[in-house]
Amino acid sequence: METAVKVNNLSVTLGKGFKALKNVSIELPVGKMIGVIGPSGAGKTTLIRSIVGRLHISSGDITIFGQSAGSPALRKRISYMTQELSVYSDLTVRENLNYFATMTGQPRNQANEIINNVLEAVEMKDKAGSLVSRLSTGQKQRVSLAIALIGSPKLMVLDEPTVGLDPVLRDRLWKLFARLANQGITLIITSHSMDEAERCDDLVLIRDGEVIAHSSPKDLLKRTGTKTIEASFLKLVGDKE
């Protein structure tokens, strides 16, 4: 299977000597929905910030489609949705999308069509002219996701994209992620919600900066002899301690 992301022996120490990641080595396949699952503070965001090239790597290495993380050539192929909303709340939804479409280098004559498509994908077409500051948290979250959908990224890195959304919309978004993966896009999605993990093709369970499991949800349940991912997680943690 073709590899999208290869993390080799990655260790990250943040301020005051806190080891956010400890010797992480994983290979993530192309065209799959990969869930990076773990409790708050486990190291999920540090891992994906390293992957998108926002953290300077001093120990270990990461390659994405064969190139080092942070390489300028990768900037057109990766989209990143941060945990903060990272949208301009004093602009309208369409103004935000217009700006980011230009920043990602979308052709001027195709920008409108691209924007309409992503608005439709996140079901925000009727809010295109609204100021982001007047939207609900869930709607703002969808604007942020729409920005990540602009263009044709080969790798989408989404930090807690479904947090704060109602179950119906969450379900629709997971279906959208599955469609994107079917089109060959690799999605890395972090979540601290174990019930979302089963929707992923591939799971990376992470705790205290260490990967405690990396397999498909089905294999994980089989290996741990449990019925839910949460139970698997607890069993793995218990075995380790």
Binding site: R54, S58, S86, L91, G105
Partner: protein, 246 residues
Amino acid sequence: MSIRKTLATARRVLMQLLHDPRTILLLFIVPPVLLTIMKYVFQDQTAVFDSIAPMLLGVFPMTMMFLITSIATLRERSSGTLDRLMTMPISKLDFILGYAITFCLLGLVQASITGVVMFNLLGVTVLGGSLLTIIAAVLAASLGTALGLFLSAFAKSEFQAVQFMPAFIFPQLLTCGLFVARGDMAQPLQWFANVMPLTYSVDAMKQVTQYSTWTSDLTRDLIVVASFVVVALILGSITIRRQERQ
């Protein structure tokens, strides 16, 4: 660097401000109102007001653009938008110059409105003419913008960014020769004033006020201010990091 992305950033910053008409109104109305108040503070000393007013036309855009730019860029850093932009195929210069273009444009409008009030309603005359006065004022606005972009990197909150005003701008304001001739100040303050950009911005305004022709001192002052702008923009660009160090 891409001109399309730079102009898109400039347009985006402008749109953000246009969605906030109160800020725009304050930006354009406060300087002429302050000048008018000052006119009546010095109602029995017309000569003093006539010499101070043009210099203030350089001080207002610098201080206001400094404040607004530092808060705007701090918001970019804290809201995650800068984080997102730095993973995209844009150059840091696109971002920095986008801000500089918008705030210089605002500085131009602000200086023009204040200039119209100063020349036509408050009766101030400058020998160098209104065009030179506006040019010097716009350069002062770009200085404020560049310094704001650079210094915002050292603020962790908007409270801190606001405190840079008394910490960084006020000492320059006190020593630039606006209130007391620099030669009459204590020697260490003269040394300080000689290396601070506002001194040269105010000196440029003095030149424009006192001489009807372009002087070599005016050229020197404008070059010094422009150099500070370029250096501050470069430093501002350096403070925006593509990759954070661990």
